[in-house]
């Protein structure tokens, strides 16, 4: 059920019901691979007002990368950067040094807050929802990644979530829902077994066991659809529409598979090679790497427009033995991050993933530039700045400018009085959904937000 404080706030349009329903589950309704651009470009007028005007027809995409256990600002804010300024005057700290060549695309934001999300240990759904979360607490509203997936230029499968964890956890719980939600009480599962994810995305162009699994599953799903349709014959008129949605759901799932098959030549260009890391990983990071490959390939191939990556899957555990971090789990969160070799390694690993993602997107021409030109990566933590935190500071890094909408190459120090919701509000506005607030009513805003509307400091 919606949390009391969320009622009536940002009731976002769904372009169509079914499309919303299937998001995040690897199923979507029929459409061409991409459609017209619904984006707007944001500009600040002479009086400081923010205007949104229709932009070009290029597709857009957003990636959320959430590392668990907190994002200590001292691991990303350059030494000496006490006030906002151009990044080119500073050297990036060791944990994110891999981003040094990409400084002109980077925006480090320090001083957002999430005190209302109860982020100690993890805000879980609240990290991307901007509301109170907690261990075992169901989502009280939709999350920003889901909402963006619904308003960004349409793709076959608008939203994909992947989660990285210890190998044991990824095997025993290959899907888990802790970060994303399509509404109150409606969690979206993230995928952690790359074999399953590959089958879902590229089963139609695969071979061997994956192909067999894909075909068997397709066959069963087709039979389920037929059975569901047969049992819908002769229903009372009042139930026809409601039950029809159930049957249509299978048609959508099966239809997606068929549509993916029709663009198989296109997909072949982007599908990663399946190697032994899929079937016989030496470390969990083998799966982390191939999961990222799959996620990025879904963006490059145009299957999806929103990718959510949960490193540590939104919880307070996780493992990175493959990069030499022998300790795993909760203790990692109890460590001080700055200067800690373990956390330097994990953050470096994240940064390398970000670089890999940017390079992969740069390699695909789009419009007058590349895919990366029309992409925004939001890197942060589901845990604010550290594991045991009140959320008074919630550092964020943005990479890319989403076709010129966001400011880059800079460090911004905020005063700690605007919530992460304000960043999400900004994303929604830029993506073409005007709103003053995201998941925060006026009553709470009076207490938790010193401003209203977009976060001007991040806009170009």
């Amino acid at each position: 059920m919606p949390a009391e404080h969320l009622k009536g706030i940002v009731v976002l349009n769904r372009r169509n019901l079914l499309r919303g329903l299937v998001s995040g589950m690897g199923a979507a309704v029929g459409s061409p691979l991409t459609t017209e651009n619904l984006l707007s470009a944001a500009t600040v007028g002479p009086k400081g007002e923010v205007k949104f005007t229709p932009a070009n027809t290029t597709p857009k995409r957003v990636i959320f990368f959430l590392q668990n256990q907190g994002f200590d600002p001292r691991t990303c804010v350059p030494e000496g950067a006490k006030r906002s300024g151009e990044l080119n005057q500073w050297k990036l700290p060791e944990p994110i040094q891999a981003l040094e060549p990409y400084k002109d695309r980077l925006h480090i934001i320090n001083g957002l807050h999430g005190t209302h999300t109860s982020p100690s240990h993890s805000a879980f759904f609240g990290a991307l929802g901007g509301y109170r979360g907690g261990d075992g607490v169901p989502p009280s509203a939709s999350t920003i990644d889901y909402e963006l997936s619904q308003i960004l230029p349409e793709t076959l499968m608008p939203h994909l979530c992947i989660g990285m964890d210890s190998i044991e956890n990824m095997r025993s719980k290959p899907t888990i829902a802790t970060l994303s939600a399509s509404g109150a009480g409606q969690p979206i599962f993230m995928h952690s077994n790359p074999n399953h994810l590959y089958q879902m995305l590229y089963g139609g162009i695969s071979s061997g066991d994956i192909r067999k699994q894909h075909e068997a599953r397709s066959s069963v799903m087709n039979r389920i659809e037929q059975l569901a349709a047969a049992k819908g014959q002769g229903l009372p008129q009042a139930d026809v529409q409601r039950y029809g949605q159930f049957v249509d759901g299978f048609r959508d799932v099966n239809g997606l598979r068929e549509r993916l098959a029709t663009v198989s030549d296109h997909l072949k260009q982007f599908a990663p090679e399946v190697d032994s890391r899929y079937t016989n990983p030496e470390y969990e990071t083998d799966w982390h790497d191939v999961l990222l490959d799959l996620g990025v390939s879904a963006l490059r191939s145009g299957i999806t427009n929103t990718l959510t990556i949960g490193s540590g899957r939104g919880e307070i555990f996780g493992a990175w033995k493959g990069i030499g971090v022998e300790q795993q789990g909760h203790n990692l969160g109890h460590m001080t991050q700055p200067g800690n070799p373990i956390w330097i390694k994990i953050r470096q690993y994240n940064s390398e993933m970000l670089v890999r993602t940017m390079k992969a997107l740069e390699s695909v021409p789009e419009g007058n530039g590349t895919m990366m030109d029309n992409t925004l990566i939001v890197y942060t933590s589901n845990n604010a700045d550290k594991q045991h935190t009140n959320g008074a500071n919630w550092p964020v890094m943005l990479l890319g400018n989403l076709d010129g909408a966001f400011k880059t190459g800079c460090f911004t120090q905020l005063d700690g009085k605007r919530p992460i919701n304000s960043l999400y509000t900004t994303l929604l506005n830029v993506a073409g959904k005007p709103c003053d607030r995201f998941n925060m009513n006026e009553k709470l805003a009076k207490k938790f937000d010193s401003g209203e509307g977009v976060l001007r400091e991040v806009l170009a």
Binding site: V22, P138, N169, K231, P236, D239, G329, K443
Partner: protein
């Protein structure tokens, strides 16, 4: 089937037309032949246009020349419908329209809006559970006005999607074996009880917790390491009834997730913990695997040790896939597949499959095995059953049976048996009920009464739907989901860090209190409204306590400081004495004592009583787990009176910063007085001013504006008496340094005996609890919950009989249920698309 429906519809139309043609009588719900021009325009002109026309129409609404219902006028007509149906318009000072004319006008709007909005799913307001009270109470319990002709009642034929609670219970039954009912410890979770939400309020299914004998770490580590899946089917429940068939379907995201969960469940049914753990983790001697459990494994599935004793149900799935002797071969026995299909189908749909259904699913399994081999093929093939229509929807389609003279068809056999079963239980029909269904003894009213009486009389047969009704009627189970501002919460006097868990604990306690009242089954509603009894856990000493005023708080702090000072002086004196007695020796180190934390803000309540148990999550989650032990005590006299004064209800009807007097008042208006509240006009910015130095009552002055007060007079004066509690539910006598104002008033209740001012919530509740209309409204809500629809005037007899049964039995819930569930509204379905 379709031809039979057509003939039923034709019969019904004939009956209704005959009825409407019979003299000047009108059959409500059937405005046949009424149009804007031949009736509705005259109604508007006679009763509305005088005020709603001209240069300055009332409320800015000009109804003169209002066009027919179309996409431009639809909102205006919707509003007109609400006002006229609720008897809000015309206002009392002008001549009211005849009852029949009002009904005709209202029905015509509904019919026209349904037609106009057919592409958008139709006009749903009359079927919204929150608008059940739009049917005038007096039309149901008063004298039937002249000129109205009633037809025999029935509920529509329909598909009823299973609830999230039912669905997760079905899954839980597949892999977990819950303990049998223990009459010595009623309230402990047993087989058939609802799967409780976890410590965070999430409804989740856990795998293998009955075999876990050791793990590393605390609450969070355990919860992370254990295999679990959240409930898949969703509801949009906020307040009120959630389970009308009209409301829900299963979308593709849910279907896809169910398929994934199905595979996990089948694997666990076959292999048990081996499907989620390594073989070495299954041992009764955890020390023997110490070498494998080294290091920090917290949060990992490998941190868990499972006992060797098999606890899960052993089913044909195990025999088909598991490691039973002789089952290791690769070939697949069609006989075993058939047994597995038949078992799983009935476990998921609660009825045996037909021959065709069995053949279909066996073939799906065989085909999958052909493609993937035995193990993967069986798992994938069997998972299809989880998406069978009847595993997700319960049909009441009356495909068997002949229509009676009015076109109704009686439920029978499996449909009737499952309808009765669903009324009370989340488990499949027990053996006796199943035998009745199979032997053809579930076809008559007497059959239903026989089985119902048996089930109601057996405490060991759990009836979670009964408790669910009270949760949805009272809405006391939402407290843990109300997001609180930490500072505002701290000011109430409660421990902010433990508040949400305390709320889930308290919800389980209120559940238990209700079950205690239901156990006696006398004066049920009145007792729930007025009992001094409380079921409590330790934290309730604070929640049922009294918030001290500033002076008392200061005095408490002073007293504590003085006591601490005296203790320190005493310790010092004792030390000096010891030194004097033991010259030259080092005094022993003082014993470390933990300074007790004193909550100066609260005078804690004395609640001790006998030991009882409440239903909480199955397994200990370490220090953070909820414990079943409770006490059945008495609330402080003069401060509390029944469930509406318990923290669970009060917090459920609060917001982040304060009480929610409007929501509380609305609850009283709707659930006890039977009044209806129209939707907030979209032009209204429903916000109270943010004035930190002012009380809620003072800030609610804005609702006194004439435009708002028309509706708010029905709510605010009923909610403000609850200002005697703060927004965490603690009793208080002052607010912002002044005596708290707890006055209220019952206005236009429909029963003059109820109307008038009240001093506080206790007086309000006391007055309402003794009233017959309140009982009748309670019966109306019970009708809605168990029939899955709003009542109509044609349900008059059913409602009156149910109320009589309740009253004549001294307030027995069982008597009320027997009356409702043997009524025509429960037994009959109308296959045609008639909206009576």
């Amino acid at each position: 089937m379709s031809s039979r429906i057509t003939s039923c519809a034709a019969l019904m139309i004939f009956v209704l037309n005959a009825a409407n043609l019979h003299g000047d009588t009108y059959t409500p719900g059937h405005p046949n032949g009424i149009t804007l021009e031949n009736f509705a325009r005259d109604f508007l002109n006679s009763h509305c246009v005088d005020c709603h026309s001209g240069q300055d129409p009332e409320a800015g609404l000009d109804l003169e020349g209002l066009g027919p219902i179309d996409e431009v006028t639809v909102d205006v007509w919707r509003n007109v419908w609400a006002q006229v149906t609720l008897n809000e318009m015309p206002p009392p000072e002008v001549d009211p329209p005849e009852v029949v004319a009002r009904l005709k006008f209202s029905d015509w709007i509904v019919q026209s809006l349904q037609s106009e909005l057919s592409d958008e799913g139709g006009f749903k307001d009359p079927f919204d559970p929150a608008k059940g009270n739009f049917v005038d109470h007096d039309l149901l319990f008063g004298e039937l006005p002249v000129g109205i002709r009633l037809v025999p009642t029935a509920s529509p034929a329909r598909l009823w999607r299973v609830t999230p609670q039912e669905h997760i219970t079905r899954f839980n039954e597949l892999i977990n074996r819950e303990p049998d009912f223990d009459p010595e410890k009623p309230g402990q979770r047993t087989r058939g009880d609802v799967v409780p939400t976890n410590h965070g309020g999430e409804l989740k299914l856990y795998f293998g917790t009955d075999r876990i004998i050791k793990w590393q770490g605390g609450t969070v580590a355990y919860a992370t390491a254990v295999k679990s899946v959240p409930v898949v089917l969703s509801t949009a429940r906020d307040h009120g009834f959630e389970n009308y068939p009209e409301l829900y379907t299963v979308n593709s995201a849910e279907a896809t997730q169910i398929l994934g969960v199905a595979e996990d469940l089948i694997k666990y049914m076959a292999y048990g913990p081996l499907s989620i753990a390594n073989a070495y983790q299954i041992t009764d001697e955890p020390d023997s695997i110490a070498d494998k459990m080294k290091g920090d494994l917290r949060g990992l599935p490998t941190s868990i040790v499972y006992g060797t004793q098999v606890k899960r149900p052993i089913t044909p799935i195990y025999h088909l896939l598991g490691d039973a002797e002789g089952q290791r071969q690769e070939e697949v026995s069609e006989k075993l597949i058939t047994e597995a299909v038949e078992y799983l189908f009935e476990a998921l749909t609660f009825r045996p499959p037909s021959v065709d259904e069995t053949a279909t699913y066996v073939q799906i399994v065989l085909d999958s095995v052909g493609q993937l081999g035995r193990k993967d093929g069986v798992i994938l093939g069997l998972s299809a059953i989880f998406l069978d229509r009847d595993a997700l929807f319960r049909p009441e389609l009356v495909e068997v049976g002949e229509p009676d003279a009015s076109g109704r068809v009686k439920l029978q056999d499996w449909e009737l048996g499952l309808a009765l079963n669903h009324a009370l239980s989340y488990l499949p029909p027990d053996e006796t009920l199943r035998a009745s269904i199979v032997s053809g003894e579930m076809r008559t009213r007497e059959d239903v009464e026989r089985e119902l009486t048996r089930i109601l009389g057996d405490e060991a047969i759990r009836k979670p739907r009964l408790l669910r009704f009270f949760r949805e009627f009272f809405d006391y189970d939402l407290g843990g989901y109300i997001c609180k501002d930490n500072r505002a919460l701290a000011d109430t006097g409660v421990n902010t860090g433990a508040h949400y868990r305390a709320m889930f604990d308290a919800t389980a306690s209120t559940d238990r209190l209700i079950e205690e009242v239901l156990r006696d089954d006398q004066d049920v509603l009145r007792r729930l409204l007025t009992t001094q009894q409380v079921v409590v856990s330790n934290s309730d000493k604070v929640y049922f306590g009294r918030r001290r005023n500033d002076d008392e708080e200061a005095a408490s702090i002073k007293e504590a400081n003085l006591a601490a000072k005296e203790a320190a002086e005493k310790a010092k004196a004792e030390l000096e004495a010891w030194k004097a007695a033991n010259p030259g020796k080092n005094p022993p180190k003082p014993k470390k004592t933990r300074t007790p934390t004193i909550n100066h803000k609260v005078a804690e309540a004395e609640l001790a009583g006998e030991r009882v148990y409440a239903r909480v999550s199955r397994r200990s989650f370490g220090a953070g787990s909820m414990k079943p032990e409770r006490q059945l005590g008495e609330a402080p006299e003069g401060q509390r009176l029944g469930v509406l004064t318990h923290p669970t209800w009060l917090v459920s009807h609060s917001d982040a910063m304060d009480n929610h007097a409007i929501r509380r008042g609305r609850w009283v208006r709707e659930r006890l007085l039977g009044g209806g509240i129209p939707d907030v006009p979209i032009t209204v910015d429903a916000m109270l001013p943010d004035e930190p130095g002012k009380t809620l009552r003072e800030r609610m002055r804005v609702t006194r504006d004439a435009y708002c007060w028309t509706c708010h007079k029905k709510m605010d004066p009923l909610g403000l008496p609850f200002e005697m509690y703060n927004h965490a539910g603690l009793y208080r006598e002052s607010e912002l340094g002044e005596p708290v104002d707890t006055r209220g008033e019952v206005i236009e209740s429909g029963d003059p005996a109820l109307d008038g001012e009240v001093a506080d919530a206790l007086e309000l509740i006391g007055r309402l609890a003794e009233n017959q209309r309140v009982e009748q409204v309670f019966v109306r809500h019970a009708f809605r919950f168990w029939m899955g629809r709003n009542e109509t005037i044609h349900d008059r007899d059913v409602l009156q009989n149910a109320h009589r049964a309740y009253r004549d039995s001294g307030g027995s819930m069982n008597a009320l249920l027997v009356s409702l569930l043997t009524s025509d509204a429960f037994l009959y379905r109308r296959p045609a698309d008639e909206s009576l």
